[in-house]
């Protein structure tokens, strides 16, 4: 750290030189290590260029863009309904959640009233996707920490959620189900009962997972005090979601800027004050129980019959209209900024993705930690590279 003190900080170094490969003078013991883009723990195609001194991380520069698919530009040459399937491909672990900001933004631009039943269906599936996404997180995180079994347990349960989504939406991972004004078709006749059955099953299993994962002594030894993310730093970088709530800031768009059926539901925002990987994990794990609570209430309140899709006006917002709408997906605030030019295609659509912002805080958490800690930190912030690169 003494050598870097005279040099610009890690982030500044990364900005000046795209590769970051230059060596620091007087630091012959630093080894430059490429973590990724093909590495078991990078959750996709992230590349982190790290300087390691023995086991100690001295520098870290995340390099992104290996999965860039140009979604924002593609939106400009497609009509609004054609944009929805592209949003699925951003955060492919919880595909259904990504469709919502686009739908909400356009609905608000056109002044479409969403039927109450559609609101509840959306909320139920939105939270179910959150559970699926968090299950993937706990599984892969434990895999990062060296435990293989929780991964298989988590994927067994996620499989059940995907089956429920498949029966309703027709697709498992990229459902393309939410649409402007509601949902694309009515849900599967037994969906609500199946979800209730699944939640009963999951609730019994979650205590087992808790003992295997966040309550396990080795897990706590690996995560407590590791990867401190200061709340001010987190806010500066735009970190949101459980990562921000793990740093003690209770910012949750479901409460603070509610949409769909969330205003009618009673739940609490899971905040932890430890600032470390363990707090982030704990904040995420508690959301399992909150999501179960939300879904149970939504199922009870959901109207048994009624329209799920209103009669829509022509999907042509007036020229110059613009709208930014963000929702709280599993990883934080996923926002979309739509600008209309009077045609049936958006003039500009800008995605604000949570993992992209979270990744900016990575060097702050990495530098000074052990190499093993770096993996534990990378797992704890739960990034999806499809959404980082878009």
């Amino acid at each position: 750290m003494t050598a870097t003190a005279t040099k610009p900080s890690v982030n500044a170094t990364g900005m000046m030189a795209p590769t970051g490969l230059e060596r620091v003078e007087g630091r012959s013991d630093e080894m430059l290590l490429n973590l990724g883009p093909q590495h078991p723990a990078t959750h996709g195609v992230l590349r982190v260029l790290m300087g390691v001194d023995g086991e100690r991380v001295t520098r870290a520069i995340p390099h992104i863009g290996y999965l860039h698919r140009n979604h924002e530009k593609l939106d400009e040459v497609r009509t609004y309904p054609m944009c929805i399937p592209y949003t699925d491909r951003m955060d492919y672990v919880s595909g259904m959640q990504n469709e919502l900001p686009l739908c909400l933004a356009l609905e608000e631009m056109l002044g479409v009233e969403v039927p109450e039943r559609a609101k509840y269906i959306r909320t139920i599936l939105f939270e179910l996707s959150r559970i699926a996404s968090h299950l993937v997180w706990i599984g892969t995180y434990m895999l990062d920490l060296g435990a293989i079994t929780p991964f298989l347990y988590a994927f067994r349960d996620r499989e059940m959620i995907l089956d429920i989504i498949e029966k309703t939406a027709g697709a498992r991972l990229l459902p393309n189900y939410f649409t402007f004004g509601g949902v694309r078709r009515d849900h599967h006749p037994r969906m609500l009962e199946e979800i209730t059955e699944f939640l009963n099953w999951l609730e019994t299993k979650l205590h087992e997972y808790e003992a295997l994962t966040i309550d396990a002594p080795v897990f706590q030894a690996r995560t407590v005090g590791v990867g401190i993310l200061d709340p001010q730093v987190a806010l500066n970088h735009g970190v949101t979601g459980p990562n921000l709530r793990g740093s003690g800031i209770p910012w949750d768009l479901r409460k603070d800027d509610p949409y769909d059926a969330y205003p009618y539901l009673d739940f609490e925002v899971c905040v932890e004050y430890g600032l470390d990987a363990y707090s982030r994990s704990r904040a995420r794990f508690r959301e399992f129980f909150e999501s179960i609570k939300i879904i149970r209430q939504a199922i009870a309140q959901c109207p048994k019959s009624g329209p799920y899709l209103p009669k829509l006006p022509r999907l042509k917002p007036a020229a110059g209209m613009e709208r930014y709408r963000a929702v709280e997906i599993s990883r934080g605030h996923l926002g979309i900024h739509l600008i209309a030019d009077g045609s049936e295609k958006p003039y500009r659509s800008k995605h604000r993705s949570p993992s992209f912002c979270t990744l900016q805080a990575l060097p702050d958490m990495f530098v000074g930690s052990k190499f093993s800690d770096a993996i534990a930190i990378l797992g704890s912030i739960d990034i999806v590279l499809g959404e980082v690169d878009r």
Partner: protein, 516 residues
């Protein structure tokens, strides 16, 4: 010009239509009713349903039957190799065969006997390891799969029994590839070194009285020394491959193996102190009265934990931590070179519980029931066997039959020895399926601050127990049990959130200034 073409085209299309109609009719008749298509006939669909608890997990066979068949094959094959190695071949070399031609007529332990048997014994040892490995790896994979809600090998051979064979064939048939930029001599030598260090332990393992390849006087020291050799192989492998992950893996392995040698050696030496011998056969014989796991409970616990670190297994699998170092010290190895590491790993996995059984669990003795035992408890004599000096069933040892020194008796002895080894392997696999991985500093902390001081206490208690058996045993169990409870409850590590909660306070990190 175009009219006939058009006519032909119309004719052709009519014919196509007829064919299509005919085909469609056939298909319509052959088509299954909708409910039969929707029924879960597809195998993978069944599996998915089974995961959800909607179907019986394995509809074809009961797992218990497979397990019984598997264990029968495992112990049967192992015993055939053992009898071949320790009875048939020595008999062939000497005049021991029950035929008119009674063998080569060499004196036992004569020069030529030793030369020929010495050349043959590595082959026989490898045969034993191979046979045990082939069956036991399958059983372990099935066991791990059961823990993890999977099926394990299914498709090759009945119940996937040929999977290990295919895996071995795959490794052998792969290209023997040496990457550029590696230190070639060491790169080639390292896997062999690792393999040999694990494999050479087979030489001194006594399976039953008289069933060993070499009766080394200082067998305990041999085991410690041979184990240490492996850390050289791992370190050299990591260093020679010119790969950064490999280098880090090699360094981690060197630090870990060298550190954990210390408590491991001390715990084995405690046994030597208590048994009064370093010869493995004599150590086992000393346990005919009581398993050493009881009076030497601390060394036993330490061996359980440090042994895990010695074979680089979860939670101490840092040298090859997949999610951190890709594959650690064997990153650049492929084909049979990797196979050497793999076989060495399995041999270690099997030999570690075997050594554990020899030193702590009575070796080949079935149960720690002494022939005659009058316990002296607080000055009162207690007769353990109310019907005099007769064992259960009237035999000298429980579940061991036959005359002393006969093949029949040795088969029973080695059977119990193998059972103990197998149970140990399952114990380690259970840990592997459950625990995450430690960090390197926690690993070192556990060794230097936890295990080594405790091992020294254990050594002192072992010496004390030799003088005053009853009090020493009680002390040992108390201290060791307390330690075990502490480990299990995680009291050595932070269990509560200790990170300070300074929410709202502004950061003083230099990196945040860039963005604020």
């Amino acid at each position: 010009m175009s009219a006939p073409v058009a006519k032909n085209a119309i004719k052709q299309s009519k014919r196509d239509l007829e064919t299509a109609n005919a085909l469609f009719k056939v298909n319509a008749e052959a088509r299954l009713p909708l409910e039969r298509i929707a029924a879960p006939t597809d195998r993978h669909y069944r599996m998915r349903m089974a995961h959800q608890g909607l179907l019986n997990a394995n509809p074809r066979k009961s797992g218990v039957l497979n397990a019984v068949i598997g264990y029968a094959a495992l112990f049967g094959a192992a015993h055939i190799v053992l009898i071949l190695a320790f009875q048939v071949i020595p008999a062939l070399l000497t005049n021991g065969l029950p035929f008119p031609w009674t063998g080569f007529g060499l004196e036992r332990n004569s020069f030529w006997f030793n030369v020929i048997y010495g050349v043959l014994s590595p082959v026989l040892a490898f045969l034993f390891v191979a046979v045990v490995a082939l069956i036991n790896i399958l059983m372990l994979r099935k066991y791990l799969a059961k823990v993890q809600n999977r099926y394990g090998p299914l498709h090759n051979g009945p119940s996937g029994s040929l999977q290990t064979v295919y895996d071995a064939l795959k490794l052998v048939s792969k290209e023997d590839y040496t990457p550029k930029m590696v230190e070639e001599t060491i790169f080639t030598l390292a896997p062999v070194l690792v393999f040999v260090s694990a494999f050479v332990l087979m030489a001194v393992i006594p399976f039953a009285p008289g069933w060993f390849f070499a009766n080394v006087e200082a067998g305990a020291v041999f085991i410690i020394a041979a184990g240490t050799l492996g850390s050289y192989g791992v370190l050299l492998a990591g260093w020679s491959m010119n790969n950064k992950f490999g280098l880090m893996g090699g360094m981690r392995a060197a630090a870990q193996l060298v550190s954990y040698e210390v408590p491991l050696s001390i715990s084995l030496l405690s046994v030597c102190v208590y048994a009064g011998s370093m010869n493995l056969t004599q150590i086992v014989n000393a346990q005919s009265q009581i398993w050493f796991a009881l009076p030497l409970f601390i060394p036993f616990v330490i061996y359980l934990i440090a042994g895990l670190a010695e074979i680089k297994m979860t939670p101490f699998d840092l040298p090859e931590a997949e999610s951190e170092l890709v594959a650690g010290f064997n990153t650049e190895y492929g084909g049979m070179r990797f196979g050497f590491f793999f076989v060495a790993e399995f041999a270690e996995l099997y030999l570690l519980p075997a050594v554990l059984a020899i030193f702590f669990l009575g070796g080949w003795h079935m149960l720690p029931l002494p022939e005659t035992w009058v316990a002296n408890l607080l000055g009162r004599e207690i007769q353990l066997y109310p019907f005099g000096n007769v064992h259960l069933l009237g035999y000298k040892e429980l579940f061991v039959y036959g005359v002393d020194g006969s093949i029949w008796r040795n088969i029973f002895y080695s059977f119990w020895f193998l059972v103990k080894g197998a149970l140990g392997v399952y114990f380690y696999m259970w840990i592997r399926a459950t625990l995450p991985r430690f960090r390197d500093d926690q690993l070192m902390e556990l060794c230097w601050k936890g295990l080594i001081p405790l091992a020294l206490v254990g050594l002192m208690l072992a010496a004390f127990s030799k003088l005053v058996p009853a009090i020493g045993t009680i002390l040992s169990v108390l201290v060791g049990g307390a330690f075990l409870v502490l480990v299990i409850r995680g009291a050595l590590f932070p269990t509560s959130k200790t990170a300070s909660s300074n929410v709202g306070s502004s950061s003083s990190k230099p990196s945040s200034e860039v963005h604020s």
